[in-house]
Every structure is written in structure tokens, then in C-alpha cells.
């Protein structure tokens, strides 16, 4: 600690250089935070995915498949519980305010028990066909609270009465699931089913299920695909684990991309800080010689140089990750509502990585100057010919 004034003086020798270095490091770590934070989000989503949950839907969407498919799925060995649902896609007031309601049957609590809808909240929905349960995100987005009416327009789902608007009653607002960034709305299957023309009734868009044993869920998924492969209604089945598997972003390997970007940023910073510290040491070569002459050990001189290099790195990293955390919170406001871009999270892991990288950059940039100082010939350096 007693070296701190010395280091501080060294940094303040060239304030412009110090500030520019700090800013550059900060920007690089902002990018680092956003990129590695995105990985952290993907990881946490993948981790929270339930190993025993499986989704299956018609391979060829259309208007859905007969409700009987759900019963057939339930009869497949290894299946514990099954729920069927219809999608109600549409918008609120303006087509750009896209919204989506999952109209589920009464078995939904068995399959989505972890979504935090209480039994009495479900019962309220089953009693009132038009009832819905909204997650906090959706409730805030449409400014709804319990008891409000929620009206949406759907051009995709035809009603028997020819209307395009659907009225719902908000019966409960529950907490969001962290892995579902856009929130969710659950409604009553009977409402959408009975509102459709007779010919369209009794159809489902998706069947979700639990496997008896999480270890067999991939096998169960394949069994379902196989069972329907040659039928009139082939199904596409995927385990929740696979559908949330981290590094898949529309087929692009997101982790490779974010990792590459973060690395490029670090490479840039390494050159910058390395040069800065090298210059700073070169300019003060005689000073270091003096220090060594009056008895400073190689170790303490090394420590001074490393600390001088580390200071902008560590402060810059802290500021950068801070800015990244701030920006990550602004992203939802900048993107069109309902846009499914995952948000970076500054998990402890991200901070740890940022800290580790900051120290690695500091150590690497200090390495060469430290070597010079250890090998310096004090007499030559003092004479100013070094």
C-alpha cells in the first residue's frame, strides 16, 4: 500500500493517456459484459429447463390436429401427464402490438406446475371461460391488473360469430418465469374452442407432457415422433432441455460468436495497455534505477509496475461491466415490445470472468516492462544512457 502514492503519481504523469486508456478499457469491458452476459442468460435458461418436460406440436401447423392426438400421446409408454392447448395469436389495438395467449385444458397444472399459478387461480379460470392468468411482464405491458378486461384482435383464429375481437377478464397476475423473457398469458381452452365454427372445434396446436423419468425424456420424444410419423398428423417433438439448449440461436452458435467478439475486444485492450505501460516504464527508466539503487527489491518494483498496469484494467472492467448491466436493462425499452431477444445478465460468473480477464490483461501487459526492469543495469540506466 505504501507504493500507492508512487503508482498514482506515475499514472498522473500523463493524465490524457491515463484517461484514454481507462475509457478504452471500459468500452471493451462493456462489450465483454454484454457478450458474456448473453452467454450467462443462455446458460441459466438451459439450466432452468425441466429435464422431464416435452413439447410436441403438429409438424405441419395449419389449423391444428384433433384433440384425440393428446389422448394418443398420453397412452405412449413413459408419459406421466399431458396437457393440450390452442394458440390465440393476435394484437392489441395496433398490429404492431403482438400478443399471444395459450388456451390450455384443465391438465395444465400437472405439466406446468412450476409456473406458479395457484390451484384456486386455475379453478377461477376453469369457472370463468374468459378468465386469464397474466405474468407480471404482460400485465405491465398492457397496463392490466386483476379484475380488468383485456381485449385483443385475432385475424388468424376464425370465430363462429364472425367477430375478430376477443374479450378476457384478468383473474390473476403472477410472477414471471426468469427463462421466459416476454412473460406469458394462460387462458381457457373451452373459450377458444367453443367460439370457433363447429368444423374447427376440437383441434389443438400443441400438446405438452411430462416423462415418468427425466432420464428417458429424449427416448419418449423420439417415441412420439415415431408413433405419428406415418399418420395423417405427424408430430414434431422436442424436449424442453433441447429447446432451451444454450448455444443455439437460429442455428448460429451464439457462444462462439459472443466469445469471439469478447476476445477481439480483449486483444485490442491488451495492445493498448501493454503499450501504455511499456511507454510509462521506458520514460521513467532512470527513476526505476534510482529506486533500485536505494534498495527497492525486484519484487517491489515488479509489484509497482503490475499495479500500475492493473489499476486502469480493474477500474475499467468494473465500470464497463456496470455500463453493460445498465445497457442490458435499457434494451427492452429500445426494442419493439414483445421482441424475443434474450437479455444479457451480469451474473457473478460474468463478473468473475471480467475480473479474471482484467488481471490477465494487466499481467500480460506488465510482463515485458518487468523483464526490462529486472535485467536493467542500474549504473547505465542512472547515467541516462539506458
Amino acid at each position: 500500500m505504501k507504493y500507492l502514492p508512487l503508482i498514482w503519481a506515475a499514472i498522473l504523469r500523463k493524465p490524457t493517456r491515463a484517461i484514454l486508456t481507462l475509457l478504452s478499457v471500459m468500452v471493451a469491458f462493456t462489450l465483454f459484459g454484454l457478450m458474456i452476459g448473453l452467454n450467462a442468460t443462455f446458460d441459466s435458461v438451459a439450466e432452468k429447463a425441466r429435464a422431464d418436460r416435452i413439447f410436441t406440436w403438429p409438424r405441419f401447423g395449419g389449423d391444428g390436429v384433433p384433440l384425440a392426438v393428446a389422448r394418443q400421446v398420453a397412452a405412449i409408454p413413459g408419459v406421466k401427464a399431458v396437457t393440450a392447448m390452442n394458440f390465440l395469436p393476435g394484437y392489441v389495438r395496433d398490429p404492431k402490438n403482438q400478443v399471444f395467449v395459450l388456451m390450455t385444458d384443465q391438465n395444465v397444472a400437472k405439466v406446468f406446475g412450476d409456473y406458479g399459478v395457484a390451484a384456486e387461480q386455475w379453478n377461477a379460470v376453469w369457472k370463468d371461460r374468459t378468465g386469464i392468468v397474466m405474468s407480471q411482464f404482460q400485465a405491465e405491458r398492457w397496463h392490466k391488473k386483476v379484475g380488468d378486461t383485456f381485449t385483443m384482435i385475432s385475424k388468424q383464429v376464425k370465430r363462429a360469430d364472425g367477430k375478430t375481437s376477443w374479450d378476457f377478464k384478468v383473474l390473476a397476475v403472477i410472477e414471471d418465469m426468469p427463462q421466459i423473457s416476454n412473460g406469458f398469458i394462460f387462458g381457457n381452452y373451452d373459450y377458444i374452442d367453443k367460439a370457433k365454427p363447429l368444423a374447427d372445434q376440437g383441434k389443438v396446436n400443441e400438446v405438452d407432457l411430462l416423462a415418468d423419468d427425466p432420464a428417458t425424456s429424449s427416448a419418449v420424444a423420439e417415441r412420439i415422433d415415431h408413433a405419428f410419423a406415418n399418420s395423417a398428423t405427424p408430430m414434431q417433438t422436442i424436449t424442453e432441455k433441447l429447446s432451451r439448449s444454450g448455444s443455439d440461436f437460429g442455428g448460429l452458435d451464439i457462444k462462439k460468436i459472443t466469445g469471439g467478439i469478447a476476445l477481439a475486444g480483449m486483444f485490442m485492450v491488451l495492445f493498448l495497455t501493454g503499450n501504455g505501460i511499456a511507454e510509462s516504464v521506458r520514460e521513467r527508466f532512470a527513476e526505476f534505477a534510482t529506486l533500485k539503487a536505494i534498495g527497492f527489491t525486484d519484487r517491489s518494483v515488479t509489484a509497482m509496475v503490475v499495479l500500475e498496469a492493473a489499476l486502469p484494467c480493474v477500474i475499467g472492467a468494473a465500470l464497463g461491466v456496470g455500463i453493460a448491466a445498465f445497457l442490458a436493462r435499457q434494451i427492452p425499452g429500445l426494442m419493439p415490445a414483445g421482441f424475443g431477444l434474450p437479455l444479457p445478465t451480469m451474473s457473478p460468473m460474468v463478473m468473475l470472468w471480467a475480473g479474471a480477464c482484467a488481471f490477465a490483461v494487466a499481467l500480460l501487459s506488465a510482463a515485458l516492462p518487468v523483464l526490462w526492469l529486472r535485467r536493467m543495469d542500474i549504473a547505465t540506466a542512472l547515467s541516462g544512457r539506458g
Binding site: R59, D253, A264
Partner: protein, 385 residues
């Protein structure tokens, strides 16, 4: 004046070797920035290229009004007959119109990396191939009309599992064999193709998605469009095929382009600070040299310009290195984004974009240091150690 700029700049460049590592900060900073920017943009550029290749200005596509994509559009059999009789459509050698009723739907696939996604299954009518001179069968044979068979693009074969000739694709009421593979050099290469009418029956559908026509001439679009849009029985939109795919390509790649620009801009800001740092250092280490030149009668302006030129040269070098790395790492690689299968591209236009970004950074980063260099009193600088 120009001569002075030339002399001072030449002097700068000759002394660059003594400031090698310092200068490398700019080169590496811009190299990393442009490398990242162009690598990300290679996805956008590849996708746009694939879509641009798909669109032919000599063709027009008809979709139902309000449809943004072929998938959203729906054209009944009756309407299709009316559309195919419209004026402006070129006739084939057999006297029938060069027009094709197309089907377009998503089909689940297993990507090579084990993830699940979709690609497009397209229906061709009898004139599907005649309409597309870019279509070439490369292996196996063409599917037969009336039979439940498919052919697959070479891009899809490279991207997905189970796409070899002889493999089967699950469709309603049975699995369809793949009997051939084709090359088109555009977005269709990542898709599967079968017979429209057979697919309609299998899917229990009654409507087509779109109709593609060959115009009698490129300027026949107006005639054709007028015939379709003035017919009160039809609610259709007619678009030149190249315009259609340019828009679809922009839509498909828009999000990635925005992400690339955001990431690139953040890195460019980081590189800018590095550039400022280096240029300030360069000006200060060469303070005496610059002062000597000023004392010899060189103007402040040539000195300032020479400083900026040095930054620009370093930045452009960095940008070109970054572009070369981005090109080597990406160009020509098969890639996938959602339902789009394409080849990554780093075309000259992207390299030019990278160089202009570098120019902007260098100008911004060289301006303040150059002013400081030019303004510094000669006597002070000469006296300074």
C-alpha cells in the same frame, strides 16, 4: 503546400519503425473492430446475396393482398387460373404460359449440430423448372409429377442430417423419399422441392401460396400488374421478383445487421480512444522534430494534415488486415440463420465499408492530436526534453 504535406508525411512514415509498437495499437484496434464487424456482417451479406440471386427482374410474383411472405399468402385454384391467363406472361414453347403455382411451407429438420429447426418445402408445378434457368439437377433424378417424391438443395444437404438421396422426409400420411439433389446458387438451395398438386392433396390444402410468372419482357410488369389489380375478382399484389426477394432478404437479415452495427460501433469507440492515445503520444514524442520543421518554415497546416494522414494510414492498414481475417475465416462457409440457408460472404462492398469506418475513426482520433501538434509554440517544443 502539397509539397510540404508530402515531405512532412514522408518523414512521419519513415520514423514509423521507431514507433512500431505504439502504431500497432491503432492497427490492432481497427483490425479487431473491422474483423468483428465484417465477420458479423458476412452473415447479413451472405443472406442478402442468396436472396438477391433468387430474384430475377424478368419474373414477377403474385401473392394475396397484405401477405408479407409466401407463407402468409393464399391463392385459390379459381384465382390461379385467372392470374395465369393474364397478359404480360411469356408463353413456353408448348404455348402454355410460363407461370407456376407454388406451395411454400415449413418442414422440421435436424441440423448437423443436433439442434432442431425448420427449412422451406416448396411446391413446383410443371413450369417450375422452365421458369428457373438457374435450376440444375446435380445428382439423382427429378421428382415425378403425381408421385410422393422430393428433391433437395445442396445447401440443405450440407446443413441438415438425413438429406441424402434415399433418405425419407416425414409428411402427412407417409414418408416421402428424396430422389435427387439440385443446385441454384440462391436461397432455394437450402430448401426441398416436390410436386405442388401432390403436396396439396397430402396436406389437405386447397389453396396455393404464390404464383411466379416469366414476363414477356422486363417492362411488361406494368401490363401484367394492371391486368391483375384492375380485376375486381382478384385481391392480389404483384411484385417484381427481384424487388420481392430484396425485401424478404432485408427482413430476414435486418436484426443481425442491427446487432452487427451495434457491436461494431462499441468496438469502434474503444478503437477511437486507442487511436487518440497513440496519436497524442506520437505528437508528443515527435514534438521536437515537428518544432524543428516549423522553425524551418513549414506551416502549421501541413503538420496537422501529416499527423492525420499517419493515423489514417495505420487505421486503413488495420482495417484491411481485419477484413482479410474476416474474409479468411468466413467467406464461402455454409451457414444457417433460422430458415435461411446460405453461404457467408465478405464482398468488396463490405471491405469498403470497413475501410470507411476505419477512416472515420482515424479522422476523429487524429483531429485533436493534430491540432495540438500544429498549435504548440515552436520555442517551447524545441526546449522540451
Amino acid at each position: 503546400m502539397l509539397r510540404q504535406i508530402w515531405i512532412v508525411s514522408a518523414l512521419n512514415f519513415k520514423s514509423l519503425t521507431s514507433r512500431f509498437w505504439q502504431s500497432m495499437v491503432i492497427v490492432v484496434g481497427l483490425g479487431a473492430t473491422i474483423g468483428v464487424l465484417l465477420s458479423m456482417m458476412s452473415v447479413t451479406a451472405g443472406m442478402r446475396q442468396a436472396y438477391a440471386n433468387s430474384g430475377d427482374p424478368g419474373r414477377a410474383i403474385v401473392v394475396s393482398q397484405g401477405a408479407d411472405s409466401e407463407g402468409q399468402s393464399s391463392i385459390t385454384r379459381t384465382d390461379a387460373d385467372v392470374i395465369m391467363d393474364a397478359p404480360g406472361i411469356k408463353k413456353d414453347t408448348d404455348g402454355r404460359p410460363l407461370a407456376d403455382r407454388a406451395l411454400n411451407m415449413g418442414v422440421p429438420v435436424l441440423r448437423n449440430n443436433g439442434t432442431k429447426g425448420y427449412t422451406t418445402l416448396r411446391g413446383f408445378g410443371p413450369k417450375g423448372v422452365a421458369l428457373r434457368p438457374e435450376f440444375h439437377l446435380v445428382a439423382g433424378r427429378m421428382f415425378q409429377f403425381g408421385k410422393r417424391e422430393l428433391i433437395v438443395g445442396v445447401g440443405a444437404q450440407a446443413t441438415f442430417q438425413h438429406m441424402k438421396i434415399g433418405d425419407h422426409v416425414i409428411l402427412p400420411n407417409g414418408e416421402w423419399p428424396i430422389v435427387g439433389s439440385y443446385h441454384t446458387g440462391d436461397i432455394l438451395e437450402g430448401q426441398l422441392i416436390g410436386d405442388t398438386e401432390t403436396m396439396l392433396t397430402a396436406l389437405n390444402r386447397t389453396a396455393y401460396n404464390s404464383i411466379l410468372v416469366r414476363l414477356t419482357a422486363q417492362d411488361a410488369l406494368a401490363t401484367f400488374r394492371k391486368a391483375i389489380t384492375t380485376n375486381p375478382a382478384l385481391q392480389m399484389t404483384v411484385t417484381r421478383h427481384s424487388d420481392w426477394y430484396a425485401r424478404v432478404g432485408d427482413q430476414a437479415s435486418g436484426l443481425l445487421a442491427v446487432l452487427a452495427y451495434v457491436v461494431g460501433a462499441v468496438m469502434a469507440i474503444g478503437a477511437l480512444f486507442g487511436c487518440l492515445n497513440t496519436m497524442y503520444a506520437a505528437v508528443s514524442t515527435r514534438g521536437r522534430e515537428i518544432a524543428t520543421l516549423r522553425a524551418l518554415g513549414y506551416g502549421a497546416f501541413p503538420v496537422a494534415v501529416s499527423v492525420i494522414l499517419e493515423g489514417v494510414a495505420l487505421a486503413v492498414t488495420g482495417a484491411l488486415i481485419g477484413a482479410a481475417i474476416a474474409w479468411a475465416m468466413n467467406d464461402g462457409h455454409q451457414s444457417v440463420w433460422g430458415q435461411n440457408i446460405f453461404v457467408l460472404r465478405v464482398p468488396p462492398s463490405l471491405v469498403l465499408m470497413g475501410v470507411s469506418w476505419a477512416l472515420a475513426v482515424a479522422l476523429a482520433g487524429g483531429l485533436l492530436p493534430s491540432i495540438r501538434a500544429a498549435r504548440r509554440p515552436v520555442v517551447d517544443a524545441l526546449r522540451a526534453t
